[in-house]
């Protein structure tokens, strides 16, 4: 092909790019004069056609990066493709990964950890863009143990000084419900079990917000709560047909895992709903239980602000009521739960059954696990100075006598 310029030897304009034993040369077609040779190009011929080559595809980058880093970057890119993340995420994750790997605390860790590091970078990127990705998902994709992932994640956060915003429950609800199989008719799903996605997402969101207000979410793993809320909302949308379906069966039909804590979350949610139902005027006539309250979840959610205020009191009001009950003065009504107070307060201060409002507290405070409390330091303990004389007899109790040593030597291999 023709190149620009003229031959210095003969002045001809016909210059040709030719290769002499794989070395590029610029040769004059007329006189054979070699104008230049060994032009620096990459091995990619595209550059001659003036097409832009991405740095990541040229050999330049490959030569500079270690094989380990290349492999890690490729892994991160694959993860992003599997999760169908936007390209911006991929670039950010790769840059975090490179920064992290150069850090002395990550440079020499095992290959397993380096792979987890890639997953952590993707996870952090998603969180920073409010993309609801759970650790469970990443761990299952990487076939990693969650404890190991947790360790790598926390050290990554500390070393790179990354601020990771909290997981948004609303987005998690939408993403988690996306994986449910109940929104379309299928062979193994009975007709009355199929549900409209928008309705279910909206109601699940409301139940999750209710759980969040009543202290069921703080400190707990979010996925079991979302699963339990989804089950309740699904049941309540068509209670007649679905009340007989168990939680386990629901999860199997939906094609999702049933995490073990989800049963407890379901129980807690139902307890909250039952308390709220006891405050709804037209429901008080009925004897509500776990099954029947599901039918009225729609109503309960609609009036949840009012019902929460009446069903639960703040702790100091509870104390006020206890004091009032103790003094038997009915003339000091607390702010909330007026009608309930008459039935509930006179006898006991704190009532666990329905009837009296209970304080709105996390479950760990409502049902404290009985644990041996370590005794407060006694006065004799605090009198220790650290320099007291140590008696010989006290030390000798810890030493073995000669017969004991002989017996021990005989018994032990050494």
């Amino acid at each position: 092909m023709a190149a620009r310029g003229s031959c210095p030897g003969c002045g001809s304009a016909s210059l040709v790019e030719d290769a002499h034993y794989a070395q590029q040369q610029l040769v004059c077609a007329a006189c054979g004069c070699v104008l230049s040779e060994g032009l620096l190009t990459t091995t990619y011929a595209e550059e001659e056609h003036l097409r832009e080559v991405a740095y990541s595809q040229s050999t330049g980058q490959k030569e500079q990066l270690s094989r380990c880093l290349q492999r890690g970057i490729r892994r991160v890119q694959d993860l992003c493709k599997v999760l169908q993340l936007p390209t911006v995420f991929e670039e950010t994750a790769v840059s975090y990964f490179q920064r992290a790997l150069q850090h002395p605390s990550f440079h020499l860790v095992s290959l397993e950890k380096k792979e987890l590091l890639g997953g952590c970078c993707v996870f952090v990127t998603c969180r920073q863009h409010n993309w609801p990705l759970t650790m469970g998902t990443i761990c299952s994709l990487l076939y990693a143990k969650q404890e190991l992932f947790a360790g790598v994640y926390l050290s990554l956060q500390k070393e790179l000084g990354l601020s990771v915003p909290a997981l948004s429950l609303g987005d998690l609800v939408k993403t988690h419900l996306n994986s449910f199989r109940l929104f379309q008719h299928a062979a193994d799903i009975p007709a009355p079990f199929v549900e409209d996605k928008e309705k279910m997402v909206a109601r699940t969101m409301q139940i999750v917000e209710l759980a969040s207000e009543t202290w069921l979410v703080t400190g707990r793993h979010p996925v079991p709560i979302v699963t339990a809320a989804a089950f309740l909302s699904w049941q309540s949308l068509q209670p007649a047909a679905r009340l007989t379906c168990t939680f386990a069966r629901f999860c199997k039909l939906a094609g999702v895992d049933l995490p073990p804590p989800a049963h407890l979350r379901l129980k807690e949610l139902l307890e909250i709903l039952l308390r709220m139902a006891s405050q709804l005027a037209w429901l008080r006539v009925f004897n509500m239980d776990k099954k029947t309250v599901v039918k009225h979840i729609g109503d309960l959610l609609q009036h949840r602000i009012f019902l929460l205020k009446n069903a639960f009191c703040l702790e100091d009001e509870e104390e006020q009521r206890a004091v009032a009950a103790g003094e038997r003065s009915p003339g000091s009504p607390p702010a909330a739960g007026g009608t309930a107070q008459e039935e509930g307060s006179p006898s006991e201060g704190k009532r666990q059954r329905e009837g009296g409002p209970r304080p709105l507290l996390p479950p760990c405070l409502i049902n404290p696990r009985k644990r041996l409390r370590t005794a407060a330091p006694s006065p004799s303990d605090s009198a220790i100075t650290g320099d007291e004389p140590i008696s010989d007899s006290e030390i000798e109790q810890y030493l073995r006598g000669p017969e004991e040593i002989r017996a021990f030597r005989k018994a032990k291999a050494w």
Partner: protein
């Protein structure tokens, strides 16, 4: 008069109806004591209203506040309320200026209290104090016995020792009083854990050293150092961890998928706090007891801010 006053213009606006005999209790008292009358000579028919005096400047205020402590405030509180003229003024400078309407012996009695130049840190802090004292749960300390040890020998001759070289390269020794555990390494270094106070940790470490001595090794007791202290307490109200991580993002890490508590890395003092929804707080990473107390006093107002969030 004017000459004296010009020495510190920031304190007084030169106004003529002004009795210099006024014992102005500022930190610069020492400087002016020669020029002003001593507090004991305070005239008893004292009817001057102090409210015209300007507010004390920032550095004065800080020094005065820390000097007086709040014992002064408690004494003057009764008299302060009687002077209705200046409310703001009284808050700051009444701590240092004795009230005009009550030239009681209290005022003069307190005066010598204020003469030291160095500000005193109040032992009982201001009324915002939590009233909760974290309890120490564990102290980790190290000491150097300064001699090479034969761990097999120790494990053979001591009743309270366990040694499993395949699992861990140290002897694990335990004593009953104070109830602690020690890791003794062949280099002669020892780690002592489980004590509930610094003094107990030191006593326990000495007992372990004595055991090693009795086993025939020339053990010494060098470089005893407390490496870590762990404390815990209960604020007695539930905490919205999600809210706390939003407002204190740069210090907090809350991952409910990993751990139910919020990990708060306080910068000053450098302490890590584990905060749980039940209101229990664990503080760790301290080298001294005061760091734990200080960290808790720092976190308590932050946590109180989340008390009524529901």
């Amino acid at each position: 008069f004017k000459d004296d006053l010009s020495a510190s213009p920031q304190l007084f606006t030169p106004m003529s109806p002004y009795d210099v005999d006024l014992p102005i209790q500022t930190s610069e008292d020492v400087l002016f004591s020669s020029q002003f009358n001593q507090p004991k000579e305070l005239p008893t028919d004292f009817s001057v209203d102090l409210s015209f005096l300007p507010d004390i400047t920032q550095d004065n205020k800080e020094q005065n506040l820390s000097e007086d402590g709040h014992e002064m405030q408690k004494e003057l509180d009764g008299s302060i309320s009687r002077n209705e003229d200046s409310s703001i003024f009284m808050d700051e400078s009444s701590l240092s200026y004795p009230d005009a309407t009550q030239p009681s012996p209290e005022a003069s009695g307190v005066c010598p209290h204020l003469t030291p130049m160095t500000p005193m840190t109040p032992v009982t802090p201001a009324s915002e104090s939590s009233g909760i004292v974290p309890q120490l749960q564990n102290i980790v300390s190290t000491v150097n016995l300064a001699c090479k040890l034969d761990l097999k020998n120790i494990a053979l001759h001591a009743r309270n020792a366990e040694y499993n070289p395949k699992r861990f390269a140290a002897v694990i020794m335990r004593i009953r009083e104070p109830r602690t555990t020690a890791l003794i390494f062949s280099s002669g270094k020892m780690v002592c854990t489980g004590a509930k106070s610094e003094e107990q940790s030191r006593l326990a470490a000495r007992k372990y050293a004595r055991v090693v001595q009795k086993l025939g090794f020339p053990a010494k007791f060098l470089d005893f150092k407390i490496q870590n202290m762990v404390g815990s307490c209960d604020v007695r109200f539930p905490i919205r961890l999600e809210g706390l991580v939003l407002t204190h993002q740069q210090f907090s890490s809350y991952e409910p998928e990993l751990f139910p508590g919020l990990i708060y890395r306080m910068v000053k003092p450098r302490i890590v706090l584990l905060i749980f929804v039940s209101g229990k707080v664990v503080l760790t990473g301290a080298k001294e007891r005061s760091e734990i107390y200080e960290a808790f006093e720092n976190i308590y107002p932050i946590l109180k801010g989340f008390k009524k969030a529901s």
